[in-house]
C-alpha cells in the first residue's frame, strides 16, 4: 500500500517473538504452561509434608473403601449416597423452574388486579435472596416438624431439604427469568398484541419461548450451583454424599472420602458445563449464519468488490426490472446498473 504523503508507514510490525506465522508463539505458550504446571506439581510432591497430605487426602485404599461403604463399620458408601443428591436436585430443579417462572411473570405483569401478588412476589424475592440458604434449611428442616401439623410435619429430611432449596433458589432463578423477559424487545409484544393475541397468549407463544432461549446458559449455571448446595441437606440428618464422606472421615480419621465426593460432583457438573458451552456456541453460530446469509442475499457488499450473483442461485419465481441507474447500497463508486431484467431472490 502506497504511503499517502504525511502519513507514516502503516504496515503492521510483528514482533520477533511471534515470528512468521504464529507457530513460535504456540510453542512458547505450550512450553511455559508445561513448565509452570510441572513446577506446581514438583512443589506439591517435594514438600516435606507431602507424603502425609497424600496419604490423608489421596489414599487409594481409603478412597475405594469410602466409595463402597461398610455400614457395620460405621460408614456409608459415598457413591450410593450421591444418588440421594441426584434425586434431590432433579426434584428441586423441576419445582424451581416452575415456581420461578410464576414469580417472574407475576412480577413483570402490569395488570392492576395482580398488585397484591406482585407485592408478595417482591417481598419473597428479597427475603429468599437475603437469608443464607443454611438458615433456610434449618428453619424449614427443624421448624416444620416442630409445628406438628399432621401430614406436613412428618416428611423425611430430604423433603424439607428440597423445600428449602426450592424456596431459596426460585428467587434467584425468577430474576434470571425477568432478565430474559425484559431482553425480548417490546416490539415483539407489540406485534403479537397487534394480531389480536391476548396478553397471556402473546406471553405463552411469543415472549416466553424467546426469553427462555436467551437465558438457558444462566439457568444451567444455577442448576450446577444447585447440585452442590444439596450438600447442605446433610445438616438435617440425611446421608447424602458429603455427609457420607464426613462420616467416613470421622470414623477412620482420613479425608480421602472428601476427595471421592469432590470427584463424583465434578463428574456430574463438568459434562453439564460443557453442554452449556455447546448450546451457547450453537446459538451464536445460528445467529451469525443468519446474518452472513442475509448479507449475501441482500447484496450488501464490502466496498471495492465486484458485483456478482451468489453461486448456484436459481431464478426466482419473479423476475423484475431493477431500477436503472442505481449503484446498489454500499457501493458508492461502483458501476451503475444497466436497465436489463435480472433474476434476484
Amino acid at each position: 500500500m502506497a504511503e499517502a504523503p504525511g502519513l507514516p508507514d502503516l504496515s503492521a510490525r510483528r514482533s520477533r517473538l511471534l515470528g512468521p506465522g504464529d507457530r513460535r508463539g504456540l510453542v512458547l505458550s505450550t512450553a511455559s504452561t508445561v513448565v509452570v504446571l510441572a513446577a506446581l506439581l514438583a512443589i506439591f510432591l517435594l514438600a516435606p509434608g507431602s507424603r502425609q497430605v497424600r496419604h490423608t487426602f489421596f489414599n487409594p485404599t481409603d478412597m475405594w473403601q469410602s466409595f463402597v461403604g461398610d455400614p457395620k463399620a460405621g460408614y456409608y458408601s459415598v457413591g450410593e449416597a450421591l444418588w440421594l443428591n441426584i434425586r434431590m436436585f432433579v426434584a428441586a430443579e423441576i419445582l424451581i423452574l416452575i415456581l420461578a417462572l410464576v414469580v417472574a411473570v407475576v412480577r413483570q405483569s402490569t395488570a392492576p388486579v395482580l398488585l397484591p401478588l406482585r407485592l408478595v412476589g417482591t417481598v419473597y424475592v428479597d427475603v429468599a435472596r437475603g437469608v443464607p440458604l443454611i438458615l433456610v434449611i434449618f428453619a424449614i428442616g427443624f421448624g416444620v416438624p416442630a409445628l406438628e401439623i399432621s401430614g406436613v410435619s412428618s416428611q423425611s429430611a430430604a423433603v424439607y431439604g428440597v423445600a428449602a432449596l426450592v424456596f431459596s433458589y426460585s428467587a434467584y432463578v425468577s430474576e434470571v427469568y425477568r432478565a430474559g423477559l425484559s431482553s425480548v424487545h417490546r416490539s415483539q409484544a407489540a406485534a403479537a398484541r397487534s394480531l389480536g393475541m391476548s396478553g397471556w397468549a402473546s406471553m405463552r407463544y411469543v415472549i416466553l419461548p424467546q426469553a427462555i432461549r436467551i437465558i438457558i446458559p444462566p439457568l444451567l449455571n444455577d442448576f450446577i450451583s444447585l447440585q452442590k448446595d444439596t450438600a447442605l441437606v446433610g445438616l438435617l440428618g440425611s446421608i447424602e454424599a458429603n455427609k457420607a464422606a464426613e462420616i467416613y472421615s470421622d470414623t477412620v480419621f482420613n479425608y480421602s472420602s472428601y476427595t471421592v465426593a469432590a470427584i463424583l460432583f465434578l463428574l456430574l457438573t463438568i459434562p453439564l458445563a460443557r453442554f452449556t458451552d455447546h448450546l451457547i456456541a450453537r446459538d451464536q453460530a445460528r445467529r451469525l449464519a443468519g446474518a452472513r446469509l442475509w448479507a449475501e442475499r441482500t447484496g450488501v457488499r464490502r466496498p471495492g468488490t465486484r458485483t456478482s450473483l451468489p453461486q448456484g442461485r436459481r431464478p426466482g419465481p419473479r423476475t423484475r426490472r431493477r431500477r436503472c441507474g442505481s449503484r446498489g447500497y454500499g457501493n458508492p463508486s461502483g458501476p451503475r446498473r444497466c436497465c436489463a431484467a435480472s433474476t434476484w431472490p
Binding site: 511455559s32 516435606p48 502425609q52 457395620k72 416438624p145 464426613e246
Partner: protein, 293 residues
C-alpha cells in the same frame, strides 16, 4: 531473545519451587527425633521435664469442641473445672506438675482434630473413642472412661416398652457424626431403616423432640443427662452391654507427651480419683437397665 525468555521463565519457576522446599523443612526434623525422645523423657514426667514436648512452653494446651456438653463439661466453660472431662484434664495437669492457672483451653472442631500436620494443642479431650483405624493417624492415651452405648427416647415412643432385639430393628435412630454410635447401630442393632446422622448433639436432640427419630443413641452418661435434665418427657430406655469401647485423649501422632500422660492416668486410676470423678459427674442413676441389641 526467545531463548533468554524461556530460560528466564524456567529460572523463576525453579526458584519458586526451591523456596517452597526450604520453607517447609522444619517438620521433618521433629518427627525423626520423637521416637528417640520417648525413652529419654520417660523418666522425667515433671513440670520441667515435659516442657520440651509442649505446644507452648509453660502451658498445657488442651482442646475440646464447641458446644461442650454436660456431663462432660458444665455451662459450656471447660475452664471451670466442672464436668467429668474438665475435671480429668485438670487432674492430669496436676499430676504433671501444672497449676490450674497453667492450663489453657482452645477450641478445635472434631473434624479437624485429626487433620495432618502439626496440632495446635497438646491433647484433645472430646469423648473420642479409640479405634485401631484412628490410632494409625493419631496417638491415643490409655482409657479414661469405659463406654457403653445407651438409648434415649420420648416417653410416648413405643420403643420404651417394645425393645426386644427384633423390635429394635424397626425404629429410626439418630446419632451425632463422628461418634462410634453409628457403627454400633449398624453392626449391633441392624435397623431396617437408615439412621439419621446429625452434625451436633443439639441437632439430634431437636430431631428427637420433633419425632423425626424414634430414639437417640449416645454414651450412657450423656444419655442420662439428656433424659434427666435436658429433654422433658424423655427417658433413658437402657444401656447396651459393653463392646470394649473406651475414651482416650487424642495426641498428634508420635507425640512423646502421651507417655507421661499415661503414667498420670494410671496414678489417677490407682488412687481412686477417676472413680471419685465418675461417681460425682457420671452416675445420676444408681442402676441403669440393660437392653440387648
Amino acid at each position: 531473545m526467545r531463548q533468554t525468555t524461556v530460560a528466564a521463565l524456567a529460572a523463576i519457576t525453579l526458584m519458586a519451587a526451591s523456596a517452597g522446599l526450604v520453607g517447609c523443612s522444619s517438620s521433618t526434623s521433629s518427627s525423626a527425633s520423637s521416637s528417640a525422645a520417648t525413652s529419654a523423657s520417660a523418666a522425667s514426667c515433671t513440670f520441667a521435664g515435659v516442657q520440651s514436648e509442649l505446644y507452648a512452653r509453660g502451658v498445657l494446651t488442651v482442646a475440646t469442641d464447641q458446644p461442650a456438653y454436660p456431663p462432660w463439661f458444665e455451662n459450656n466453660k471447660p475452664s471451670n473445672g466442672q464436668g467429668y472431662e474438665s475435671a480429668v484434664a485438670y487432674a492430669v495437669a496436676t499430676q504433671l506438675g501444672f497449676k490450674p492457672s497453667q492450663v489453657k483451653w482452645v477450641y478445635e472442631p472434631f473434624d479437624s482434630s485429626y487433620a495432618p500436620g502439626p496440632k495446635k494443642f497438646d491433647f484433645d479431650i472430646n469423648e473420642i473413642s479409640y479405634t485401631a483405624a484412628r490410632a494409625q493417624v493419631v496417638t491415643f492415651s490409655d482409657s479414661y472412661y469405659a463406654v457403653q452405648q445407651a438409648l434415649v427416647a420420648l416417653k410416648s415412643s413405643p420403643i420404651v416398652t417394645k425393645h426386644t432385639p427384633a423390635e429394635l430393628k424397626t425404629y429410626i435412630y439418630g446419632d451425632q457424626v463422628g461418634t462410634t454410635s453409628l457403627a454400633f447401630i449398624n453392626s449391633e442393632i441392624q435397623p431396617t431403616q437408615t439412621p439419621k446422622v446429625f452434625e451436633t448433639l443439639n441437632d439430634v436432640k431437636q430431631a428427637l423432640q420433633t419425632k423425626q427419630i424414634a430414639a437417640l443413641v449416645t454414651d450412657t452418661p450423656t444419655a442420662q443427662y439428656i433424659s434427666s435434665s435436658e429433654i422433658p418427657g424423655s427417658v433413658m430406655v437402657g444401656q447396651f452391654p459393653s463392646t470394649g469401647e473406651h475414651y482416650g485423649l487424642l495426641f498428634a501422632k508420635g507425640n512423646p507427651l502421651v507417655g507421661c500422660v499415661n503414667k498420670a492416668l494410671a496414678t489417677l486410676k490407682s488412687n481412686g480419683t477417676l472413680a471419685q470423678l465418675t461417681a460425682k459427674y457420671l452416675q445420676i442413676y444408681t442402676t441403669v437397665p440393660t437392653i440387648q441389641p
